[in-house]
């Protein structure tokens, strides 16, 4: 993995403040989605009560604090890392689409695998009801010795790899092939 290629691509994409802002917004949105996906029924109940936005915010912050409470700082940090990397990756894909009019191929799709990994490694506010349980992982993330880091760490790797391939594609698109 060539760090110089990534650094050059980053400088090109993020010299435009719009992409910095979009990365921040997408990162925050992804983190919210990870919480929402794992606490979906509570959000449905609260919305059904016509509750105040403050209560929705309380459920969201409670969902985030529950990840920290049950799975620890390592998983919590890794989920934040997945959210941030997702924001950066998606912003780079948007840049690539706008500049090259090309999605960049299957390698870029790998990034979305990383994003799903983040969602599946996010703990829920109840035992056994994480998204992982949908696939028959009885006991949810409790059965994993590292409480879900087994999923979130590869997700970070996939997202970094995806960012590298996008960077490489961007740098190659800016020069003529011999």
């Amino acid at each position: 993995m060539n760090v110089i290629v990534m650094k050059s691509a980053f400088l090109i994409v993020f010299r435009n403040p719009a992409y910095v802002i979009s990365s921040i917004l997408i990162s925050s949105f992804m983190f919210f989605i990870f919480i929402l996906a794992n606490n979906f029924s509570t959000f449905v109940t609260v919305i059904g009560l016509n509750a105040s936005p403050k209560l929705l915010l309380d459920v969201t912050t409670n969902g985030a604090s529950n990840i920290l409470y049950a799975a620890g700082a390592a998983l919590f940090s890794s989920i934040i890392a997945v959210s941030i990397l997702s924001g950066i990756t998606i912003s780079m894909i948007i840049y690539q689409l706008r500049i090259t009019r090309s999605f960049g191929g299957k390698k870029n799709l790998a990034g979305f695998g990383g994003i799903f990994g983040g969602a599946f490694s996010s703990a829920c506010s109840a035992c056994s009801t994480t998204l992982a349980s949908i696939f028959g992982v009885a006991g949810g993330l409790a059965i994993f010795p590292l409480k879900g880091l087994e999923i979130s760490l590869p997700s970070i790797g996939i997202l970094v790899a995806s960012m590298y391939f996008i960077s490489k594609g961007l740098m190659e698109s800016g020069r003529c092939k011999i």
């Binding site: 509570t42 049950a70 109840a126 035992c127 006991g139």
Partner: protein, 183 residues
């Protein structure tokens, strides 16, 4: 939705309460412990102790094999009228999931800390596994009413219907649902 609360489950609160809260919990579940520490005391203070709501706890086995032992222990304590004393004792001393804190010997040692409990009787009951099928039945019952994780609480009665709350949610979520159901 409607819910038929098992007749053998003791309740906390007044018999004349207008509403029920039925919590399905696993003694090994850290979120149930969080609910016990953070939300349940406020519900007890504002709704159960004031006679508005009755609270039922149904111990199920979701997290691991030791949950079955811990669940049986609650019914052994119930034989001596100590069901909720056992509930409080176990959640106050909860260990990590499936770390071995819920083996029969550990459960007996923890139960010995319950004031007024006849430990010999409790230990003989736990060793007999006479309530194993009850915990299994309660787990099946929970799954049949749509419980997929613990804690899941149902708030209501069979006339108004029950509203589920999944997870260790903040007190304000419970307050909103209880107030809505109390009308």
């Amino acid at each position: 939705m409607k819910l038929q609360i098992p007749s053998f489950t003791p309740a906390r609160g007044s018999d004349s309460a207008q509403l029920n809260i039925v919590e399905f919990g696993d003694y090994q579940c850290p979120f149930c412990e969080k609910f016990f520490q953070e939300t349940e005391p406020q519900i007890m203070q504002n709704y159960v102790n004031t006679g508005k709501v009755k609270f039922y706890f149904e111990g199920v086995q979701f997290v691991g094999p030791d949950s079955l032992t811990l669940g049986q222990g609650s019914w052994c304590a119930d034989e001596q009228g100590k069901y909720y004393e056992y509930h409080d004792q176990m959640y106050s001393n909860q260990g990590r999931e499936n770390s071995g804190w819920g083996t029969p010997d550990k459960v007996k040692a923890l139960a010995a800390g319950i004031t007024g409990l006849d430990t010999q009787k409790f230990n003989a009951c736990l060793d007999s596994k006479k309530y194993e099928s009850r915990v299994q039945q309660l787990t099946s019952f929970a799954q049949n009413v749509g419980v997929t994780g613990t804690p899941t609480s149902f708030i209501g009665d069979n006339q108004k219907g029950y509203i589920p709350i999944v997870g260790a949610q903040p007190y304000d979520v419970f307050k909103q649902v209880i107030d809505k159901q109390l009308g």
